[in-house]
């Protein structure tokens, strides 16, 4: 057993840091340092810089334009980017529909779509959930009627994150209502500019315009845009879910948040002493640091397994669960440390320390992490059934 990285991997980490020092635009760096939210323009600008470097899709195979990094190097790259606070890239193209097209798509689809996902020329969003189909995804109703070479789509998708900025959407649609729910679903790629598509942005409780209701009215989509067989979309969707677990652990993001908590505590005073010098606050912060350290170790163990080519095991199933809980708890702690400053909301500069303006809205929106991506209740159901082997039922 060994916790250190090989000399080669250390050199790679050095290369990543050097690249970051040089290539991260100064305006984005300034935002990263104060953990301000990024707007889509900034995110896509950074996407293109990473694309130029060849690092935009560390997990993609070389034949589709991936950089050919080892599992450890991919991990190092991800961690360094997170720690530097660079804009998180949209996962819908790179982590979701891209891999789905690689695994299930036709050569024509691969050629048509993958290069533009890589370059950022086309931005994607996801159309899974519907108002009546959340945790029970298979009950979705958005309808696709057969019309010769085309499918005609009618219905609504919701929580379509950043659909207002997307060029394409990948959807699960119902192509057959006469079979068991999972069997009548098709995985379909839809051009957002098609007539009849409308994305209406909604605000989150953090008042960020992070997602949309997306409506489809008689939208005609060529059958060439079906990925996998018609009625075979559930298999494609399930394969996608496996891709994301370590992504959702949010270790790097929580580490930055912990540093931020300490920074705020060092700058917040009570009875002439900073909170970071106060034993009570120190132990409270230390308890979070320990939980985060445990999560990071579990993440390392999952990575080390992946390095050896093992399928994600027991240690990785807990990552989304604990990762989101810890992230939420850290935001809560940041709010507590800030005290009355935490109640300030999108005020102009100077009202609260500039660097901490974003804490309150981000704290609010962080409640979403335990709901989206398969709610934590669903995650526990999955672990109970598939790992502990407990009987389903009651």
């Amino acid at each position: 057993m060994d916790l250190s990285f090989s000399a080669e991997d250390q050199a790679f980490a050095q290369e990543v840091r050097a690249f970051l020092a040089e290539a991260l635009p100064s305006d984005i760096r300034a935002k990263a340092e104060i953990d301000a939210p990024f707007d889509p323009e900034e995110t896509m600008r950074w996407h293109r810089i990473l694309f130029d470097k060849g690092w935009v899709a560390p997990g993609w195979p070389e034949r589709f334009g991936g950089p050919g990094l080892s599992a450890t190097q991919r991990f190092i790259l991800t961690e360094e980017l997170e720690l530097a606070g660079t804009p998180p890239l949209s996962p819908f193209g790179l982590k979701m529909v891209g891999p789905a097209i690689m695994q299930f798509g036709t050569p024509e689809q691969q050629q048509r779509f993958l290069p533009k996902i890589l370059s950022g020329e086309e931005v994607w969003c996801q159309g899974y959930s519907e108002p009546e189909a959340g945790s029970d995804l298979a009950s979705l109703r958005c309808r696709a009627d057969d019309d010769g070479d085309h499918l005609v789509i009618n219905g609504q998708k919701t929580w379509t994150t950043y659909a207002q900025y997307a060029d394409w959407i990948f959807c699960l649609v119902r192509t057959n209502a006469n079979v068991k729910q999972q069997a009548g679903i098709t995985f379909l790629l839809i051009d957002m500019k098609s007539p009849g598509v409308e994305a209406r942005p909604m605000l989150t409780i953090g008042e960020q315009p992070a997602f949309c209701d997306t409506f489809f009215e008689d939208v005609r989509v060529p059958k060439a845009n079906v990925v996998g067989p018609i009625d075979g979309g559930w298999t494609v969707a399930k394969a996608l879910l496996g891709h994301e677990r370590t992504l959702l652990a949010m270790v790097g993001s929580s580490q930055r948040l912990l540093r931020r908590v300490k920074r705020i505590a060092a700058e917040t005073f009570e009875s002439g002493r900073s909170l970071l010098e106060h034993p009570g606050w120190r132990t409270e912060i230390a308890r979070m640091e320990i939980e985060l350290e445990a999560l990071q170790m579990a993440n390392y163990r999952a990575l080390a397994g992946a390095q050896l080519g093992k399928a994600p095991g027991a240690e990785s199933s807990i990552l989304k669960l604990r990762g989101t809980e810890i992230n939420q708890q850290l935001y809560e702690l940041a709010m507590k440390v800030m005290g009355l400053d935490a109640l300030s909301w999108y005020n102009e500069a100077g009202v609260v320390p500039d660097m901490e303006q974003g804490v309150a809205p981000q704290f609010c929106y962080a409640r979403a992490t335990s709901i989206f991506g398969g709610s934590n209740e669903i995650q526990r159901n999955i672990i109970a059934k598939w790992i502990l082997g407990l009987p389903s039922g009651k």
Binding site: S139, M202, L203, F269, L343, R367, I371
Partner: protein, 377 residues
Amino acid sequence: MDFSLSPEQKMLAETVKTFVKQRSPVERFRKLRAEQRPWDPEMWAHMGELGWLSVPFSEDAGGFGGGMIEVAIILEGLGKALAPEPYLASVVLAGSAVAWAGNAAQHERWLAPMMEGTHALALAQAERASRYDAARPSTTAVRDGSGWRLSGEKIFVLGGAQAHAFVVSASTPDGLGLFVVDPDGPGVSRQVLRTIDGHGAARLRLDGASVDDDRRLGEPGEPAAAVLDRVLDRGAAGACAEGLGVAQAMLDMTVQHLKDRKQFGVPIGSFQVLQHRAVDMFVEVQLLRSMSVLASIRADEPEVELRQRSVSAAKAKLGTAGRLVSQQAIQLHGGIGITDEHDIGLYFKRMVGLDTALGDETWHVQRLSNLPGFAGA
């Protein structure tokens, strides 16, 4: 021992319920928030007509001589509907300060128009360096001829956005003093704040602001510090009552959602894990209700330690109960719970405001644990 309401209190509760339902459903707050208006002055005037703004003041001061039980009834109702008028800030905090520390002329000048609902007041005591401790303000008041000059900064004045006058705490040569400051006066600047819960607040900066002597509440040498302490305990008890309304509303909405929302072909409320989660919310609301009652009964208790102990215990409980209830309310609502368009998020954020204002859980636990009787009890 008796926890039942008197006939008058029951009638008040009924009036509040009807008022909120007819005149101030959550949509009213939502609309004001969209317009970035911290309140509706007409609604305030209406509350004045109903007599609510006079409830906790002695008849000498022109009030109704009610107590914190009545105040709690009103605040719980306002909390349930997220009414943004500054009842807690203007009546309970600033109003009590003027009533208790002020003389008859001062009552007439500031309390009377507030009780009528033509004016609102605010208490400016919080400063960055002192966190939740109001005892030693770094804002100073120095003598200047027959008046005073005030300098300092108050970072978060509840109800400060809409207040017509501020009660400001400041250190004077003869101890803590309370001064009524005109926000439009020279040397005074008010910066209206946007807040997480959409309720009105402001920062107040005093740059050698000139204040006449008759704006100092009470006489020098009087223990304004003790008055302020009592005022803040009333405020904390009031926050518990309003927070109880917020929590109860979240519980009710969540239980209803569990019954209505179907997934996997059944109401999600039939899943045992979600049932037990709702039970945990219910338990916390029951405990918060018990503690809010305790805080109301004890907020005006003459024995200081007993008062502080009870109020701090209740405010700390608001922190723990409020956190569990509001987090689970969002979680059990699922995706819609994190949209701005669903009301549950408005309640979630109001709870953050009430939990933080007037001392958070940590601060009140510490205060309680430092009372002399703690180690001896």
